[in-house]
């Protein structure tokens, strides 16, 4: 309802994140941002002088979001599967929607053209996420709730790749692919009894 938004910088970041997830970092321009926000390109440059600056700021946004979401999922009172579900449905699916993919997947796809400054941040976030999922899986196996062989980290890789790949496929083929992938994944983890 406010004509003058309290924080223009945040507004730019919000839109940039959306465009990152729908089009990719190299495929949206300051033009896109300025026209959709109703301000000029020069104004965007005032907040983020170079596109690499915007990219680094975007990485911080994603990192903060991950930390909040991981803490939220960890603190749930339910089972390990409930927490994994909170990650998949709450974090990934909610933040992505039908036309968006995971921001980290988007950055990975553009890796060859990405500003140098963004790469360490990307690696760090990927690792952070993988560790979080591995922790939940380990927990679930320890209390007899989940079943899988080998290192929790290996199973975490399988889990994360499936979720993110499912989002990418769904954007092209519809959400049934996402549902099929997640259901199959859960069935396997719960011991193949279904």
């Amino acid at each position: 309802m406010q004509t003058r938004p309290k924080n223009r910088k945040q507004q730019i970041l919000d839109l940039a994140l959306e465009l990152l997830q729908t089009h990719g970092f190299e495929s949206f321009s300051y033009q896109d941002l300025s026209s959709k926000l109703g301000i000029t390109k020069a104004s965007i440059h005032h907040h983020f002088p170079k596109k690499a600056d915007l990219g680094v700021a975007l990485c911080e946004v994603i990192q903060d979001w991950h930390e909040r979401e991981f803490t939220r999922a960890r603190n749930l009172s339910g089972s390990a599967m409930d927490k994994l579900d909170a990650y998949v449905k709450g974090t990934l699916r909610y933040a992505c929607g039908d036309k968006k993919i995971c921001p980290l997947s988007s950055l990975q796809a553009d890796i060859a053209s990405l500003p140098e400054a963004m790469r360490p941040a990307l690696k760090r976030m990927d690792d952070h996420e993988l560790n979080f999922i591995a922790e939940l899986l380990e927990q679930g196996r320890d209390n007899g709730e989940l079943q899988f062989v080998g290192a929790a980290r290996s199973q975490a890789i399988l889990f994360v790749l499936t979720c993110k790949g499912a989002l990418q496929y769904s954007r092209v083929h519809g959400s049934e692919v996402f549902d099929a992938a997640i259901t199959q994944m859960k069935t396997v983890l719960l011991g193949e009894s279904a």
Copy 2:
């Protein structure tokens, strides 16, 4: 050794495919092609007037490659797992290498900015590939070699997403991720006895 290559058109397509896998369709230019091939942009336009034409031709190249590879894998005398392995190591891994991802993954990532004419081709190829893997999985389950629950198509989704996601991750994090993902995947399919 020939100074005048027999088929310039094919040479352009070969390079374009590589750039598609390393940088993405929107991230390589006629400039890139021309400088690396030692001819001018105008010459590339002679063979492919618009970039969408090049894109459609690229889809045909990928489709042909899939058909050859799928036939090759089907005709192997080994087990279902051997055929899946031929797909993973022979088709995907060989064609992608350390710095390349699956061309279909690359196109999926760029879907929002892709020329209209390429989209139906992408959907068709994704389906074709999924059907092929589902067929191998079904075969393996029927002869008692592989174990999984539910529809073969659902398990095929899991399988394909894992392989392609692993390639994408490996480009950023190194090939250990690829190996870990594939090993874990196979262990699950072989009945979790390892």
